[in-house]
């Protein structure tokens, strides 16, 4: 018998963290240690209900449990949001290509993120921070609709600001409460002076419209399309490059992505929709 790629391994949700009004993080314990590379994704099954693709937001160095941050966006995610700790789940994967972290060594890493796009970025960020000396700097430019919509608030507003080698700047579309920081979409806090483009790579993850304009802006700064890494969100169903749902041109996002360089996919018209 061949290994069945449609067979999930069993797991349990052990903790649920409210991140924002529409986003929760689920701490999941698989029944066996689960290895993945940062940026790869998993198919999470709510038994009997459905399955959806998510990129874990925890560091791959942690294999006993995994964190998955999920925005309530459709049927399965709405049901997941109703779950309580102790819920049994299924996990398939990991699938696809993650961030090529080794290619980032010795470089400045410029990370642009927005909304729930901070989920895969958190996994990457934690991975980079574990070996921060390998990189020149890690420059983060994150945005959210309102201060309340930021996820990972505690670390984002606290400990992540103080990590040597990390430069973090935040912005919101709309200031609320006692927000004293920048107001404006994330592209308004991107500045060519942030990094030395000749020795930098950029990573972008967020809502499609934000990814589009951030990518354009980065190119204006002089970033080459092959140095811009995008984590693409498509309707991955099988996860193994067969079912066809996630295709961007000739690529299967589930197998050839979800992380692509802009160079790879810029020729296709439908990438930002």
């Amino acid at each position: 018998m061949n290994e069945n790629p449609y067979q999930p391994i069993n797991g349990e949700i052990v903790e649920i963290i409210d991140e924002s009004p529409t986003i929760k993080s689920f701490v999941v314990v698989p029944e066996e240690p689960f290895k993945f590379e940062t940026g790869q994704f998993v198919e999470l099954t709510l038994p009997g209900e459905g399955e959806a693709p998510f990129t874990p937001s925890s560091s791959p160095s942690q294999t006993e449990k995994m964190e998955i941050t999920i925005m309530k966006a459709g049927r399965v995610t709405a049901l997941l949001h109703k779950c309580k700790a102790g819920q049994q789940i299924g996990i398939r994967g990991p699938y696809g290509n993650g961030y090529p972290v080794d290619n980032f060594v010795g470089k400045e890493v410029y990370i642009v993120g927005g909304g729930v796009g901070l989920a895969p970025i958190r996994s990457l960020f934690l991975t980079l921070v574990e070996r921060i000396k390998d990189f020149k700097t890690v420059v983060c430019r994150f945005g959210a609709k309102t201060p309340d919509d930021f996820i990972y608030k505690k670390t984002l507003f606290g400990s992540w600001q103080k990590i040597p080698g990390v430069h973090l700047k935040l912005t919101v579309d709309e200031a609320k409460g006692n927000w004293k920081d920048n107001v404006g979409v994330v592209t308004t806090i991107l500045d060519p002076k942030d990094v030395n483009i000749n020795s930098a790579v950029a990573v972008v993850c967020g809502p499609p419209i934000m990814m589009k304009f951030a990518t354009l802006k980065l190119q204006e700064f002089g970033f080459s399309a092959k140095d811009i890494y995008l984590s693409m969100e498509k309707n991955m169903s099988c996860g193994i490059g067969k079912c066809g749902h996630c295709m961007i041109g000739k690529y299967y996002v589930c197998k050839d992505g979800p992380v692509f360089t802009y160079e790879q996919i810029k020729g296709y018209r439908d990438i930002w929709a």
């Binding site: 399955e51 049994q88 067969k242 295709m247 197998k255």
Partner: protein, 351 residues
């Protein structure tokens, strides 16, 4: 022994059916559809002179099947050896295409492979290509030279049976007393029949002759309006993707049974509006014209880039089934003409 001659089909089919479940094409109205062979039936099986209406993918990749069971995994379902009779070269090539997807090294689909390994393929030469057949435009031909276990060629006095695999050679060897020698004049007759069918195909498609490789034609039409021109006629019934022997989109869905959960694998089609939509509502191909284009690009460009094969076998089933009367050949011809026009323009400019 690689080949043998028989006068009658029935004893041959009975021998095949001794050890395997045998499926044969049965004339139903104007079409042939596959049915389980019944040796006790009085009705004699005739050799289908055109590809059946039903597709071979249904034997390997059924409309809906059980993909997995959990929390406790189940043993895979046992597949009994089975044989399919009357496949045409286009059908064999559709299997070659599906093999690329479901049997590729990296992620083998055990459901598919389980059936594929137990399948015995008996192909036959085409005699009467239909109005919608265009296999020769997609690199095929109305007879098979590879991909079968056994191939049947009808000639005046009977049938030439040729082996194309070890399984096929073993069969002819085992039942060698049932076969007589194939003479040169029989082979000459077979070749003459084949050439005549080829000619018929070319006549049927005289107006759709293409000047460049299909990939160039379709890729060159990236910005063409041709796909949008077909859009108003498409009623989005998905008949074409279902009847297509090479279309293999599916989706996984979950069900709850009494004491277990099941993941099911079911056919899907890229012409469905919400096919590529994500939960947030973004949809890269909202318009039907874009979806028609994506389907053709997948068939003639993307699949070729990835697997080295064109994902269309020219069987014409999509043309036959289309409720809106869309004929892929017309789109290909229009793209061909547009590209020729562009080339001429380019040549003029460079002068």
């Amino acid at each position: 022994m690689r080949a043998g001659f028989i006068r009658q089909l029935k004893p041959f089919l009975e021998t095949v059916a001794e050890h395997k479940e045998l499926y044969v094409p049965k004339k139903t109205g104007e079409h042939y559809v596959y049915t389980r062979y019944d040796p006790s039936s009085e009705v004699s099986v005739e050799l289908n002179n055109i590809r059946p209406c039903s597709t071979v993918k249904e034997f390997l990749f059924p409309v809906c099947e059980l993909a997995s069971i959990f929390p406790e995994p189940a043993e895979p379902e046992e597949v009994k050896p089975f044989a399919v009779f009357g496949l045409k070269d286009c059908d064999l090539r559709s299997i070659e295409i599906l093999d690329k997807v479901f049997a590729e090294e990296e992620f083998r689909d055990p459901l598919y492979i389980n059936r594929r390994e137990n399948m015995f393929l008996i192909s036959s030469d085409c005699f009467e290509p239909g109005k919608s057949c265009f296999c020769h435009l997609c690199g095929g031909q109305p007879f098979s030279q590879s991909g079968y276990d056994l191939n049947v060629s009808e000639i005046n006095e009977g049938f030439i049976i040729e082996a194309g695999s070890q399984k096929g050679r073993d069969f002819i060897e085992k039942y060698s007393e049932n076969f007589s020698e194939v003479t040169d004049s029989m082979l000459a007759q077979r070749d003459k029949n084949r050439a005549e069918t080829q000619k018929k195909l070319e006549q049927i498609n005289a107006e759709y002759r293409l000047d460049m490789p299909l990939k160039e034609i379709v890729e060159g039409g990236e910005d063409s309006d041709v796909f949008d021109e077909d859009a108003p006629d498409c009623v989005e019934c998905q008949g074409c993707t279902r009847i297509c022997p090479t279309c293999h989109c599916f989706y996984l869905y979950d069900t709850k049974q009494k004491d277990y959960f099941a993941k099911m694998k079911m056919w899907d089609g890229c012409l469905r509006r919400a096919y590529a939509e994500v939960a947030g509502g973004q949809n890269p191909r909202k318009m039907i014209g874009d979806r028609i284009k994506h389907r053709l690009m997948h068939k003639f460009v993307y699949f070729l880039d990835r697997y080295g094969l064109t994902m269309c076998i020219g069987c014409g089933r999509c043309i036959e089934t289309c409720a809106g009367g869309i004929d892929m050949r017309k789109a290909l011809k229009k793209l061909n003409e547009e590209l020729k026009g562009k080339d001429r323009k380019k040549a003029k400019v460079s002068k």
